[in-house]
């Protein structure tokens, strides 16, 4: 029963992981938001903010495919915030250099997979050590 509860809680945490991808169309950014099962974050509220400003440059709702499109008019850091009424959401920070946008992710976000993978490998070998002790003991 305990195992089922852990799996259930894990599945819930996985379901809340809102992901995104970025591409440029001309001078505009197309940000797509989706859940890990590829379900788009459709018709949800978003706002786009220029660097250092509190009044949104643009606001609205994502389209049926979970996309937010905006065309930055100046260089600097741009923040895109998406959120739904039930508490899902994400904040993406993008650096615009006049011609291209770069996803400004933290070092952890950039190498998240590597950190998790290394932790998993050490976990697997940690478990193996327990078995080896039992075999040899």
């Amino acid at each position: 029963m305990r195992h089922i509860l852990v799996l259930f809680l894990f599945s819930l945490s996985y379901a809340h992981d809102l992901q995104h991808s970025l591409r440029m169309e001309g001078s505009c950014a197309v940000l797509s938001f989706y859940f890990p099962d590829e379900k788009p974050f459709s018709y949800e509220s978003y706002e786009v903010l220029r660097e250092g400003e509190r009044v949104p440059f643009q606001s609205g709702r994502s389209d049926a495919l979970g996309r937010v499109v905006f065309c930055p008019d100046r260089r600097g850091l741009w923040t895109v915030r998406v959120f739904s009424e039930d508490g899902h959401g994400a904040e993406v920070r993008l650096r615009f250099d006049g011609s291209s946008l770069k996803d400004k992710r933290s070092i952890f976000e950039r190498y998240e997979k590597v950190f998790v993978g290394v932790a998993l490998i050490f976990g697997i070998f940690g478990l193996l050590e327990l078995f080896v002790r039992r075999w040899r003991g």
């Binding site: 997979k113 590597v114 993978g117 290394v118 490998i121 070998f125 193996l128 002790r133 040899r136």
Partner: protein, 211 residues
């Protein structure tokens, strides 16, 4: 060097899965027979190191990128079957949980890097006399052999699997894919050779200190 999904035909990856599974279960037998408690931390560290090396792409001039392998030290110090077993787990995690390399192409990636890479690294090291030159050549040649194997498998698809005269899976022939994979991996091979020189000596001293 990880091949993504969609490039390998089912006629190739299904038999490759069977071969890979058979080899993996045999490797597990060897691994279990050979395993000692004091070496687990070394194997864990080397597997984690291989995971990091194969996950981080390094950009090269010309718009391409490569990644290291980290196969040599494990194969030379602990034997090719143990290295194959550990690296198969690494590639399994990468393909099934992290999207690095395709699920359908997993057996090809595992056979080329984990199996061929480990056995060639170990074989070259023994063939060239187990000295410093052998260590360097082991890293260099095993990297090139793995890259060549992947290039041959990919290139073969453009000739074998065609519909209406057009390739269905990987579209480029040997004349493109072999130089495209081998040339960047000359750099990786040099890096792997140097890595072998640095790591094998150090780890061997550590292992001998522990008795």
């Amino acid at each position: 060097m990880h091949i993504p999904d969609g490039f390998i035909a089912p006629q190739v990856y299904l038999p490759a899965y069977v071969i890979n599974l058979g080899l993996f279960f045999y490797a597990l037998k060897v691994f279990r027979r050979w395993l000692r408690e004091r070496t687990i931390s070394y194997l864990a560290s080397l597997s984690a190191f291989a995971f990091v090396l194969t996950s981080i792409a390094l950009p090269l001039p010309g718009g391409t990128s490569v990644h290291g392998l980290g196969v040599g030290p494990m194969a030379i110090l602990f034997g090719p079957w143990v290295a194959f077993a550990c690296l198969s787990v690494v590639f399994f995690l990468q393909a099934f949980f992290f999207g690095l390399g395709g699920v359908s192409s997993f057996p090809i990636n595992a056979l080329s890097i984990a199996f061929l890479g480990s056995f060639s690294a170990y074989g070259v090291y023994r063939l060239f006399g187990r000295g410093r030159v052998a260590l360097f050549l082991s890293g260099f040649l095993s990297t090139l052999l793995s890259a060549l194997f992947i290039a041959l498998i990919l290139g073969l698809h453009s000739y074998l699997f065609r519909e209406h005269g057009r390739p269905v899976y990987f579209p480029l022939g040997f004349e493109v894919v072999i130089p495209a994979l081998l040339l960047p991996h000359l750099f990786v091979g040099v890096g792997e050779g140097l890595l072998n020189l640095l790591m094998v000596g150090f780890l061997r001293r550590r292992l001998s200190l522990e008795g």
